[in-house]
Amino acid sequence: MIAVGDAKLASIVADFPILSHPTSRGKRLVYLDSAATSQKPQSVIDALVEYYSDYNANIHRGVYEIAARATDAFEAARAKVARFINAADTREIIWTRNATEAINLVGYSWGLQNVKSGDVILTSELEHHSNLVPWQLLAEKTGATLRFIPVDHRGMLVLEDVDTLLRGVKLLAISHVSNTLGTITPLEKIVPRARAIGATVLVDGAQAVPHLAVDVRALDVDFYAFSGHKMLGPTGIGVLYGKRALLESMPPFLAGGDMIRKVEFERTSFNDLPWKFEAGTSNIADAIGLGAAIDYLDRVGMDWVRGHERELVAYALERLAPLEARGLAIYGPKDPALISGVLSFNFADIHAHDLASILDTDGICVRAGHHCTMPLMEKMGWPATARASFYLYNTAADVDVLVAGLEKAAAVFKL
């Protein structure tokens, strides 16, 4: 259980201005939807305000003072990202809008260059649409086929036959943490096998980087995609990490200003990494904002974040257990060691949307629906689930409010 007087947690909560603003019904905001997007600490908001108020300028080509300051801050943010995920080189960090664009970039650039008819793309049954639909489109364009690592009834990947599954695989595209169930993929069991047969490996880390310490070199992946907005950063900024040699060998994706070296009427040569993949004016402010988010996470410490979420999940499982007799079904492995801070559930015959609406009246924000994992929902036979997802600013009190909200829902639905 979380010690009530935990001073560190209290000071974290105080850093997030939204958490002290009551809802229109006067309730305390109990934000349990960080897997959709996280809240932002004041320091991130301040970084945006500072950029726009003090040194707003376009980057890379400006010789004047604020342009130089903006360029430095923008590239410093890139260096922070590189260090945060332990990339070997700052040039391996490409700014994108979000994880989705990062994955699509690989699909269009590396994919169309390398994937051929008959090739196999291996992914899993629990992927977010963003790490599935791009590969469906690529398969359609190239004549490649998709293959799926199955999930078992607990939502764990079935990896007994991983070598069989990997046969003939050109690309392994897999998520690090499931957004619907929170299950953590044991990448160490799959990636080395995939590498051994020469497959390229892309990991969708949208739900991992915010919650776990991620080391792309230790994982030894080729590509790693994630979004800033889920890790305390602003909306509109995401990251594609790629091994340098691989990025060098790829054709550009979007074309325009900043990604070029020399343009003539009929032909163009492209700029060096990372700018080769960054066409047009970058999202300067939000890249700087993501840098501030990383500073914040660094100060708190990713080990603390992971530990805190584990405690919250353990506490929530304990508090929710009594409701299981009344029809609460919690999905996933129900083991805090195997999942990040995500719990998906249904409550008797209350549809997840109705549950979310009832919880909303008490200021509790949970997500309801398919969580952009329709195929998983279909396979599991869940029309929808309600999902509570935790982050560093959630408290045991939030769990208590959730439990009370569920009791109320049971009363409303006369369970």
Binding site: D349, A352, H353, D354, S357, H370, M377, K408
Partner: protein
């Protein structure tokens, strides 16, 4: 929102009227609310006089979409197909009564949208596949 779930709504949710499929529908339509995943199908049977004389709905979803669709089917029976095509969301709001939040309006009107599109399709002819 919690005062929305009154007894008659829960009753329509748990015991939907006219639930299932027709063997020989004159026209059917189905739609999905892509934002929440709710799905509804409506089968209408229309007699020679242009009157809906039988109707079934099927699908899955929240209490709001299912209860609204269930209540709607009761209204549809006996209506002229032309009038079904002209229904507005007021009919749904009158059925479900107070308390629906704007975010859930799409759920409440899903059945209506399906019924209307069935009626419009039948009257105007479905657009050709391109």
């Amino acid at each position: 929102m919690d005062d929305f779930y009154r007894d008659f709504i829960l009753d329509h949710y748990r015991n939907p009227r006219n639930f299932g499929r027709l063997d020989q529908p004159t026209v059917s339509a189905e739609d999905l609310n892509p934002l929440c995943g709710d799905e509804i199908r409506m089968d209408l049977h229309v007699n020679g006089a242009g009157i809906v004389d039988d109707v079934r709905f099927s699908g899955k979803g929240c209490a709001i979409s299912q209860a609204s669709a269930s209540m709607l089917t009761e209204e549809l029976k006996g209506m002229r197909l032309e009038d079904v095509a002209k229904l507005t969301k007021e009919v749904v709001l009158e059925n479900v009564g107070i308390g629906i939040s704007p975010t859930r309006m799409k759920c409440a009107t899903l059945g209506l949208r399906v019924a209307k599109s069935a009626a419009i399709g039948e009257i105007a002819g479905w657009p050709d596949e391109e």
